[in-house]
Amino acid sequence: MKKYLPYLVLGNLFGYVLIKSEVASWYRIQEMFHFQNFHMFGIIISAIITAFIGVTILKRFTGKASLEGTSICIPEKKPGRTNYPLGGFIFGIGWGIIGLCPGPIFALMGTGSISAVLLLIGSLLGTLVYGMSKERLP
């Protein structure tokens, strides 16, 4: 079990930030999609820059062992053209309406929100529908 402790700690920090930065608030997401405040854009842009710097440093250690022993390599997405923008678009509609993406759904569930639990149930149903229709999608 000790092996999983770092993930619990990191997840905890991530959840804390999602609430304290108000990313898990519908109000902030509406503000973002109407370009009325820099706050959300600042978060996303500075997160990307920080991750980029971190990953650039890590690239020097490609093939070396991670703390768990598996060798370090930068994750790559599967090839594809239609599924990425189309799936993203469908997700974006849901996000724009209800103002929570998956990370914030979990964080909000932690605050005891039953509405967030309903959102999770909905998204599990969506995952189920995807699983059933996967072969027939473009």
């Binding site: 997160a47 932690g110 309903l118 969506g126």
Partner: protein
């Protein structure tokens, strides 16, 4: 200087929050060569439950190999409990004036809670709205193989073109929904 308690309670500015979120990507690689992303858990939860009535290929894998990801999500919930309940910010969210004006026009009150009671109070209409939005979020993120964390943060910072496509789709959907759909559904 604010005290530690004040720092834990008050909202965090973007230049503190963003870099912490960004650090998740290299730290998860460093710890165990893991790819930062939340929505993969939706698949893991389905695989755990493994609906036996219908056989779905997508969920036929050993979710135990992704235990780290479930533990991470449990951590996110604990973080929510700490930040939203134990160290909750008593002040309302400080929105821009433009947003406050827009909300007033749509008959939505200025924030008094973290999320608007107009949509998050559980009644029949809101429950349908929450379930439907969830459905779109679940289907979309799995079809796109990632959400904001996996694509906008991880994918873009590791220079993957697929994530650029996904993020364009996400923002297009979000813009349309926030500008044209939310006013129709009454929020």
């Amino acid at each position: 200087m604010p005290t530690l308690y004040e720092m834990l309670v008050s909202p965090w500015p973007w230049y503190v929050s963003g870099p912490i979120i960004g650090l998740m990507v290299p730290l998860l690689i460093l710890i165990g060569n893991r790819s930062f992303g939340i929505s993969q858990n939706l698949e893991h939860i389905c695989a755990m439950a493994k609906p036996s009535v219908i056989s779905i290929k997508l969920f036929n894998y050993d979710w135990r190999t992704s235990r780290w990801s479930i533990v991470f999500a449990v951590g996110v919930m604990l973080g929510g409990l700490l930040a939203g309940v134990i160290f909750a910010n008593p002040e309302p969210i400080q929105l821009s004036q433009a947003t406050l004006d827009m909300l007033a026009q749509r008959n939505i009150a200025a924030p008094s809670q973290f999320n608007p009671p107009e949509i998050f109070t559980l009644n029949f209409q809101n429950s349908i709205l929450l379930l439907t939005s969830g459905l779109l979020i679940g289907f979309g993120t799995r079809y796109a193989a990632g959400c904001t964390s996996g694509h906008a943060i991880t994918g873009i910072s590791t220079l993957q073109i697929q994530s650029v496509y996904a993020v364009i789709g996400i923002f297009a959907g979000g813009l349309i929904a926030a500008n044209y759909i939310t006013p129709i559904v009454g929020v």
